[in-house]
């Protein structure tokens, strides 16, 4: 399962002076993931702290699995000391044909997103019995 980022339409760099834009480009980080294989499915587990059910989006398009999350958590008070910043999460993976993308299910609990990607029938392991003659 290779990680692949598909750039949105990249334009040729023109030789014009760079002006400051009114809308800054969105900042995002790639959430850490665990991907492991079970007999009948592939599990993708991603840490998305501060993200709730309504602010997470998972979609598959052209065999590209996209995980997006916008943390909704807001802090109260004045900052005293800071080690982390909650920015948007974004990560994409390229799926193989062995995944049945119609039946992907997702579950979000305590800031951890668990995706179950069922294997298509042809990709499931089959036991072949060996006959001793």
């Amino acid at each position: 399962m290779a990680e692949k980022t598909y750039p949105t339409t990249t334009q040729q760099q023109e030789i014009v002076p760079e002006w400051e834009k009114t809308r800054t480009e969105e900042r995002y980080i790639a959430p850490p993931v665990d991907i492991y294989e079970e007999n009948d499915a592939l599990k993708v587990v991603a840490d998305l702290p501060g993200v709730d059910k309504d602010s997470v989006a998972v979609h598959v398009y052209n065999n590209i699995l996209t995980i997006e999350g916008k943390p909704t958590h807001k802090a109260s008070g004045n900052p005293v000391y800071s080690e982390f910043e909650l920015v948007n999460f974004f990560r994409q993976f390229e799926l193989s044909d062995a995944v049945d993308s119609e039946r992907i299910s997702a579950n979000l609990e305590n800031g951890v997103l668990t995706l179950t990607l069922p294997k298509s029938e042809k990709a499931k392991p089959k036991q072949i019995s060996v006959n001793v003659s």
Partner: protein, 151 residues
């Protein structure tokens, strides 16, 4: 004759290797540095601290915990967060893993607060993977407004 600085030499060598690696794998090298600190070297969980006049708010970034495995204690002006992040699939064999980036295991972290707190009224909430500890400041730590008289 000046003695060669060993650390400077090691640093030079490291830079040279980084440069070579970035030429060989231009995309990979840009994505992450060659020598990242191990997971154990980082503090866990990461915290943010906020305050207002009466409270100190401590936020810890700790997704995927079970509140039964989470302990928050307050002594004087030190908060200690300890617990265990469990493996999502403890039975999965190493060969089943395609990627393993989320760490798991026991952790403990103590954070010193800037003021004394009323340790009997501390509350902790765990929501969406963020632990929010609300600590009321001790009575004597709350700033008292003094009215200035015009003489």
């Amino acid at each position: 004759m000046p003695r060669p600085n060993v650390f400077q030499e090691i640093e030079n060598l490291r830079r040279e290797m980084d440069r070579m690696a970035s030429e060989l794998f231009p995309f990979q090298a840009r994505r992450q540095g060659t020598f990242l600190p191990g997971r154990a070297a980082r503090q866990y969980p990461l915290v943010n601290m906020y305050d207002d006049e009466k409270f100190i708010y401590l936020e810890a970034l700790a997704p995927g915990l079970n509140t039964q495995n989470l302990d928050v204690t307050v002594v004087h002006n030190t908060v200690t967060i300890s617990g265990e992040k469990l493996h999502t699939a403890p039975d999965a064999k190493p060969e089943q893993y395609h990627r393993s980036e989320r760490a798991a295991g026991r952790f403990v972290r103590s954070i010193e607060l800037p003021t004394e707190v009323n340790d009997t009224k501390v509350t902790a909430d765990y929501k969406n993977g963020i632990l929010l500890i609300t600590l009321p400041k001790a009575e004597k730590a709350i700033p008292r407004r003094i009215s200035v008289k015009v003489g």
